[in-house]
Symmetry: C2
Subunit: 518 residues, 2 copies
């Protein structure tokens, strides 16, 4: 058995049985070994950003890692932005990067680079395996690291000769570290603060954004009057009718300040203390209001849901009433297509159990509100701010959950970073409906140009935000990549296209033509 | 004047007046300043790999740097693969990466990362500018570093507040370092070796691959009988009728070994000692034959053309006859379209003064031979092995040389890494003709799968090299991005489409449907 074969067997034994791949020459033994280990499903991408983003989407939904297979430092570079997003989402990913044979490194061949340097920022665990004997054990450790309580990208660099040499043996799974135990003193101190009579708020993130965490948080809110806020860009938020609703902190610091106004106790639960996404001249970066004490109930290394449960017990709130979202859908919209009618069309039609991937940016502003009372669904967002995550995450989520419909709400500018995803969706027959919100602009930058205080309005500056010349024909792009597509210019057309896309299996793309923001 | 305005004025004063950009919020002041400094031409890309690859193509042809404008570490990540190629091409590039405001870094906001870490591998010069006062001087130094004798990627990291703060002054240009003087003793020693009667070869690379270097090398070859070999993947090779021809070392080590067989003296002139592109089980990585002495006449830090001229003088070969390629074109091909007829169509029609960007990979194997006697042209290749360079380099080359036709010969798999380039070509009305060689496979990997000795032929392994399901419709993709396109399934159709594309201004894409390699 060669290294590659032992590696794949080790991954499968550790419950990693999906690999999103862009292989090259140095990865050919891994590819050849796929025929020896049919339990591993290897999914081809046309670009590494698709592979890494799909691994993120898969990990968020499957709650176990997929592997990637990338080609040397340049392939890793192409996948880096979406690994950054996965890092911010704390998604478990086993990131396998091929390298030149160990003895070939000295020659500095054209594709050579220092892969560890490129990998460092995004990797919670990073190792170059240097011998065929060590490879399988390294792989088992990588999986365990990825599956640590606070998930991470575990990068395993795999030299070609380590992969092709014979004499390897698969390794048994390694148990991930356990979460830190709940600290009763911390729980008491938080309970005291929330019972103090001063205005309190829970700030939820990470793994608290699903039903068990949300229900516990809702009991705390019910018993103490604390607000229930959530991080701006959750990796995965369970929501919809019957679930407690969480008020996500606004991306715009001005609105976030209103949400946090007068709060005296901000309790972080698997969330970082809120800061402005970008800095703006003359505005504060730290969003915690003056006079507010920040309490850390639990971090991602702890068990944040157990901590919330302990807080509920400490507060005697086990039987406190839990406020949940009521079932409600907007009517099917008619008339012009704009951000509001688009949101209403989605709210009117979102299927039960849908996975919504939201990279709608400015044009998707109302979609969250319009779906708050829809049947239960998951909402996945751009955690790290590196645009181009939506289509790949939707791809990976559909692989993880083949029985659930995926709706990908995608801004035009962002979609063009990883449009190649559509081909993988077609190749794998994934049930993903993509709506591209085409306002022919980087509209968020038009807003930001004003917000940073830059002297806007010059024609040369505006041209840098303008995607109208030439107009991008997203239906042609989708068809070119094997995905059926339709264009909606009215709300009625969008409703009709959405109904068809949700009814038919396999991928679809709808280009929603929206008013230009420039 | 704010930092951004002073930065752009400094760049323009240093003869950097083109910027390939993918800006985000932290770069909005740079964007706003474009209206103040109309001498700077800012060209928008839909993806950073397009921007960095275009800067590479521009620098190779203009012999002066373009700037890039990238958004934080993730934007840099997206552009990293083509900066790797630029590094291997020794292309001068001023790589500007926006960052969060200096005081915002401490908050580890979602998009934050250690940009210097990501930039390190590809940057010959790297600095984070930390004050508005220092910015302009840093920029002038970056330009000088990029323009050093051995060109490099000079990365300037630009925090948002450094950009937006007032009180900046433009800086005067900084003179780049001069090349190292030619060492007469080295020249004599090389001359002695080549006069020894033992088989010698010049191995040319970098800046020697243009007329002055090639003519000098041809005189040396003529006077001494030395072979005239060139590196496998030159950044820019001048060739065609009337110019000395250089025999590029084969990508396949087996063929390269034949080219170097029995060579006793290998003289490196701005080229690295030849090594195998990848390692293969049981095969040597070092291609220098047993018993061959490697001489370094000049590196890229020297003046390699002056060194060749000195060698000519030392050999008394100033008036030696110079063998040049004779004018010759293949006939216009007819019949089935395959790698040979495709090459002949290009050879029959290549316009005088064309810039050929060659990322044709396996399907483009015969194009070099078929164009050897064409009117004089430049040939640009994939220097660093990171696929996805062709369309961006063609884009940048067309910006640098608006009066010359650009022919981009592009493999189907590679094209999908940076297909977004077509939109920039349409937006800027660039005269680029792209031929996508569509064999519906990663055919090079089919070959490599055999060469690395992997047990090939399993259906799951083969599926990873197969791009036929779904088939990619490149004409639809081009039209979706605003570029007129046509499909050729016969040699006659390819000839007709090429004639039309060369005759009409602006970008065109031709999908050449070739036999599948799988």
């Amino acid at each position: 058995m060669n290294g590659a074969q032992a590696l794949i067997r080790t991954l499968v034994a550790s419950d990693v049985d999906v690999c999103f791949a862009n292989p090259g020459t140095s990865e050919m033994h891994f590819v050849a070994a796929l025929d020896d280990v049919p339990e591993m499903r290897c999914i081809l991408a046309l670009f590494e950003g698709v592979a890494t983003g799909a691994a993120d989407g898969y990990g968020r939904m499957a709650e176990r890692p997929a592997a990637t297979l990338l080609h040397l430092g340049s392939g890793l570079g192409n996948g880096l932005a979406n690994l950054h997003n996965a890092r911010r989402a704390f998604t478990p990913v086993v990131n396998i990067v091929g390298d030149h044979a160990t003895y070939h490194k000295q020659y500095d061949a054209p594709l050579d680079s220092d892969i560890e340097t490129v990998a460092r920022n995004v990797s919670g665990w990073l190792r170059t395996t240097t011998s065929t004997e060590a490879l399988a054990a390294d792989a088992a450790e990588a999986v365990a690291a990825a599956r640590s309580p606070r998930g991470c990208v575990a990068t395993l660099i795999l030299p070609a000769d380590v992969s092709w040499t014979e004499g390897a043996t698969p390794a048994a799974p390694v148990e991930p570290t356990a979460p830190t135990a709940v600290d009763a003193a911390v729980v008491r101190s938080v309970a005291d603060a929330l019972r103090s009579g001063e205005k309190g708020a829970l700030f939820l993130g990470g793994r608290t954004m699903r039903e068990p965490g949300l229900v516990a948080a809702a009991k705390v809110a019910s018993a103490t009057g604390a607000a229930m806020l959530g991080e701006t860009f959750p990796a995965r938020l369970e929501r919809g009718a019957g679930l407690p609703a969480v008020d996500r902190l606004s991306y715009l610091a001005e609105f976030a300040a209103m949400q946090l106004d007068a709060t005296r106790h901000l309790v972080l639960v698997d969330a970082k203390s809120p800061v402005s996404f970008f800095a703006y001249p003359g505005k504060a970066s730290d969003l915690v209001p003056e006079g507010c004490t920040v309490h850390v109930l639990a971090t991602g290394s702890d068990d944040p849901v157990a901590a919330l449960d302990a807080l509920v017990a400490e507060l005697g709130a086990t039987d406190a009433p839990v406020a949940v979202a009521s079932p409600a859908r907007p009517d099917r919209p008619t008339g012009p297509l704009d951000a509001a009618s688009l949101a209403n069309a989605i709210g009117a039609l979102l299927p039960e159990g849908a996975i919504v991937v939201d990279e709608g940016n400015t044009a998707g502003l109302f979609t969250s509100g319009a779906t708050a009372g829809c049947p239960r669904h998951d909402w996945l967002t751009l955690t790290g701010g590196a645009i181009g995550i939506g289509l790949p995450v939707a791809t990976g989520a559909a692989v993880a959950c083949p029985d659930r419909p995926v709706l990908s709400i995608e801004a035009d500018g962002s979609s063009m970073y990883t449009i190649q995803s559509l081909w993988t969706q077609a190749r794998e027959g994934l049930d993903v409906t993509t709506i591209v919100l085409n306002n022919r602009s980087y509209a968020v930058l038009d807003m930001e140009l004003q917000r940073v205080g830059a002297e806007a309005g010059g024609p040369r500056a505006s041209a840098m935000l303008d995607l109208s010349e030439p107009p991008i024909d997203f239906c042609a792009l989708a068809q070119g990549l094997g995905v059926p597509a339709a264009r909606a210019t009215t709300a009625e057309e969008l409703v009709a296209h959405l109904e068809r896309a949700f009814a038919e299996p396999g991928p679809h793309l709808i280009e929603a033509v929206l008013p230009s923001r420039l």
